[in-house]
Subunit: 337 residues, 2 copies
Amino acid sequence: MAGIKDVAQVAGVSVATVSRALSGRGSVSASAQEAVQRAAAELGYVVSSSASGLASGRTRNVGVLVPVINHWFYASVLEGISRRLMDEGYDTTLYQLTKDRGQREKVFSDFLLRQRVDAVIAVNVELNSEEVQALHALDKPLVGVGGPLPGVPTLHVDDEGISALATEHLISLGHRRIGFIGGNEETDVDFRVPSHRRTGYEQALHDAGIAVDENLCVGADFTMPQAYAVAKQLLGNPASRPTALMAASDEMAIGAILAARDLGMQVPRDLSVIGVDNHDLAEMFGLTTIEQRPHEQGELAVAMLLRAIRGEEPAHAHKVDHRLVVRSSTSRPLDAA
Amino acid sequence: MAGIKDVAQVAGVSVATVSRALSGRGSVSASAQEAVQRAAAELGYVVSSSASGLASGRTRNVGVLVPVINHWFYASVLEGISRRLMDEGYDTTLYQLTKDRGQREKVFSDFLLRQRVDAVIAVNVELNSEEVQALHALDKPLVGVGGPLPGVPTLHVDDEGISALATEHLISLGHRRIGFIGGNEETDVDFRVPSHRRTGYEQALHDAGIAVDENLCVGADFTMPQAYAVAKQLLGNPASRPTALMAASDEMAIGAILAARDLGMQVPRDLSVIGVDNHDLAEMFGLTTIEQRPHEQGELAVAMLLRAIRGEEPAHAHKVDHRLVVRSSTSRPLDAA
DNA sequence: ATGAAAGCGCTAACAG
DNA sequence: CTGTTAGCGCTTTCAT
């Protein structure tokens, strides 16, 4: 394995010049630049991250905190992050924060303190103040995707706005009895999302002069199967069921559509359904939804972070756009037809 | 940030002793051990990975190569890997191998050569010989999940056995016209899986004295939507359609079930469907399937790797178990009832 | 069992 | 613009 000295020798310059030429820090003559590049390529030289990191304090690696990986949103954000980081020559180190308190603690007291990362991205993890403090103590840039996180610049969609828009869409079609499938206590901890989506839903109803009917609001864990189950409950009674349903995620919306079908209902004739995400499966089910682009969120988070790493600007919160995608799962209610 | 010197001072020993006490390499008296532990805890000392890596050549980090993240199998394997690595005090660094040739090349010519990892796990990536060579040149343990990879110890399910078992299940129920939804050229590159599953299917038919009917075999990209589309095609003609269908993945099987429903067919009355995976959604659809446990595969891969890292044994291929999970999507064919 | 000291391979003053 | 050199914070001989 060739070292910087070898490159210096072959290029006929000093190691300092090699370092400068390859890192782009400090000025190097065109000829030296060229010679170094040539020698490095010839020898297949790649800088040792340990040595470089030790000497410079920069690792070209960022840590990503996620609660789960096997989930459309997280996996997508992760893909966006890792792709973008790789483009910039950065590595991505993954820290999965499980429910296990011990493990979680170790991440903050050990793993992240090893000085292996230049910065940290927290994806939808509800950090407590101690944890935020531990991260701040690292004195490394930190951004959150899907906050808000107290004291941390975050990037996130407007959850309230999203569900308000979804609900307004249903209202504008003429629906008055609009059900809601949100999260439950458990998901609210990790996602921080469900309660905001509920708020937007209620707000939209309120603005339209429609009273919130608690009986039409149920909770699930953001998975299709659980949403299927609760939707079946909700839609089971023909007398009391809603004419439209908003789900806080597309997977839950799809669960609801399947439940409706199994109850002999037709979507959207007997029930309009709208979701949130624009999930890969949304199109197949003709699902009307509010799109959020997790890939882009991941990429944006990286962009923010890099700016902060380079000292160009102290990262500050951004809001990510969303938009309504109308497909065939929503229509005017039967009785208004 | 406390350094090893601080710990040595507080503990009243030399830095060498601190290093030994904390790493478990070399012998240390109980009293020194105790003093060091105490001092380290008090100071919140955590070893610098750069410094330690530079001096020892060990990084306590492993690189994971994946083609995609946003997919049930990969995300699950990744979860298993990262969890298990974390248990062992190792970090997980993610390298996503996209279709982009340039990026992909950079991973092998740059990223992996930075000496940031002690070992590499390749998850279902079809490495060419140059890439395998590049990895071997690293002289770091390497294991593959979902091979086979020429010259690389891998961990994988028996794809042929799996699809043979699935097909046999259908045959044993009395089916003779059994369709197959496999992969296409594109997925075959990444997954390496489709063709093997096709082979097992054909083998099973052959063993039962049933001729393979090309018209009953279609390909998709392992996603639900595309399987839905091709299944609809396949099942559209009542005269020629099969009585049972085996799909090379659960997501595709579910797509097929939905297609059948939309064609007015009842599963399993008019069509039996079996998949492969035991995906999170399988139960909800009552899907009979062959289970493979990606989490376990990830964990096993880590176990193999650690043994190799510790020089306990040169990793060699393992085979992962699978089992038939019978639910309600398969039954005897109508005409045999 | 322990300490002194020589690196590990690079970066960043500093001097020129 | 370039070279010399002193570390970066650890690990690991080598003595003792």
